[in-house]
Amino acid sequence: MSTVAPSRLRDGVRELGRRRRRGLSSGRSRVLDAALIGLPVAMVTVFTIGPVLLAVYFSLTDWDGFSLTSPFVGLQNYRDVFADASARSAVVTTIEIATACTVIVTCLSLALASMLRRPQSSNSIYRGVFFYPHMIAAIAVGFAWNALLGPHGAINTVAAQLGVGPFPFLLNPTWAVASVVGVITWQSTALGLVLFVSSMQAVPEELYESAMLDGAGPLRQFRWITMPAIAGTVTAVMVLNLAAYLRIYELILSMTQGGPAGSTQTVAYQILSVAYVNDRLGKGTAEAVLLFAATMILSLVIIIARRKGDESE
């Protein structure tokens, strides 16, 4: 209650100020306002919204990369994408990687966050250990893990000295996809961990203490206290992570180059390292538009599913 009164007072003062300002505002200051708002609007229009519309337009033409008047080909580029076995396999690979990573990373970061949520110093060291991969550029992450997992890499060298292996981490298609999933998990558990910890720390500790007195174990505490309190954060992290997984590119470029035999080619990798490099721009932009649509649709699906899940409780 005590917080309502000052905020109302502040609103009142603000409203008063607003009225006074309106009385003062001259034509010149309106022009200035418009110019100040106009700058970011112009940047977003030229470099974000405009390019999205251009991508949709180019995807409907036989675009050469230079002119705006390339012949219109309707949905031919989209038909080409769906008819192309390598494009279809890139879609499947991307969805496999994104789904596996969303599930594994969400579970792992929830588990770690509930173990590390209390603000003791040993916990903050662990949090640093699990967070630091977030501070490494994806292109470097790929090179590092390639050096660890390659046929002559650090892990296979030590395995051979111990008399096991070699493990075909990057040489067998199934192993390679699993390795990519593992490396993404290594890198992206960080974000969920810190965001879950910060929303778990907002939950009053007394709730856990009284639950413990009532005989609820850690699992039931997690299910009935932690989860309801951080549901919104879980949804947000899942959407953020999924969007990031659907556009995985640098990691593939430096870790597997899409191989072996194209098994780790993702949609983003095909757009930039196959279509763009080989001047197949119409098809590339069609794939880009499909990727954008898929990101939007899957994000909505997660948001709706999580909302339904919350309501049914």
Binding site: Y132, F143, T157, V194
Partner: protein, 279 residues
Amino acid sequence: MTDHRRPPRIAALRYVILIPLGLIWLLPLYVIVINAFKPNDAILTSPFGLSHLSLTPILNALRSPDFNILAGYGVTATLVVLVNVVSVVVCAPAAYVIARRASRAKGIVLMYLFAGAFIPAVVLIIPQVYVLRSVGLMGTIVGLVLVLATVTVPVSMFAYVPFIRSIPIDIDEAAAIDGAGRLRSFWSIVFPLMRPAVVTVCILNTTGVWENFIQPFIILGPGSPWHTVTTAIYGAVGPYQTDYSVVYPNLLLVILPLLIFYLLLQRQLVGGLAGSLKG
């Protein structure tokens, strides 16, 4: 501090999970750091060992004439500064106008500025190349800075607008009465009060620009004399992936600055990530 009330079995389970997992998480860092100081044959025979340490590999990487990571630091640091300056100069006054004069039109403008947050770079980059080429900015630092600064617009508005609304309007009233122009009163009175929000956004922008690969790689192009840290590591390591005495020292040079940045600013960084999620 509440540990003593926890059943010992669960406390033990906690460490059975955390310690091995933590070691796996640290493994790449350990391997990068020690192998950055070893010749290739020592890496190949004993990648985890501490023998044959020398400074030669890292000095070779520091002195390398092509795709030098140190030169990349310079280009990336310049980009970081330019992107942050353009971002703040463009976004802060706009956020101020939007925050101080609420109207339906400004709400729509705000939604429009947020919209870009959900569009992946890989979707935008090919048409961005077309736009940059049409205005003669393809392959230039200016073009790259404009594209990267645009990426910062949604987060900036998201942080600045609510923050300015929490600053009492009487403060700019007083400045206006003293006769300061609107822009001057913003920069001299409101902007200094926005410092926490500006610092948070700049920290997020800095890590974003530092880690960025797609835009500098495509916009500057392979023939460019300019290499950022990320495009330099791609050029330096990509063709020599089997020569680990090239791979590891370059990797160490690439990851070191941002890890130090994290150690120095971890509270603001983590707070910024958490703050950018709210709403």
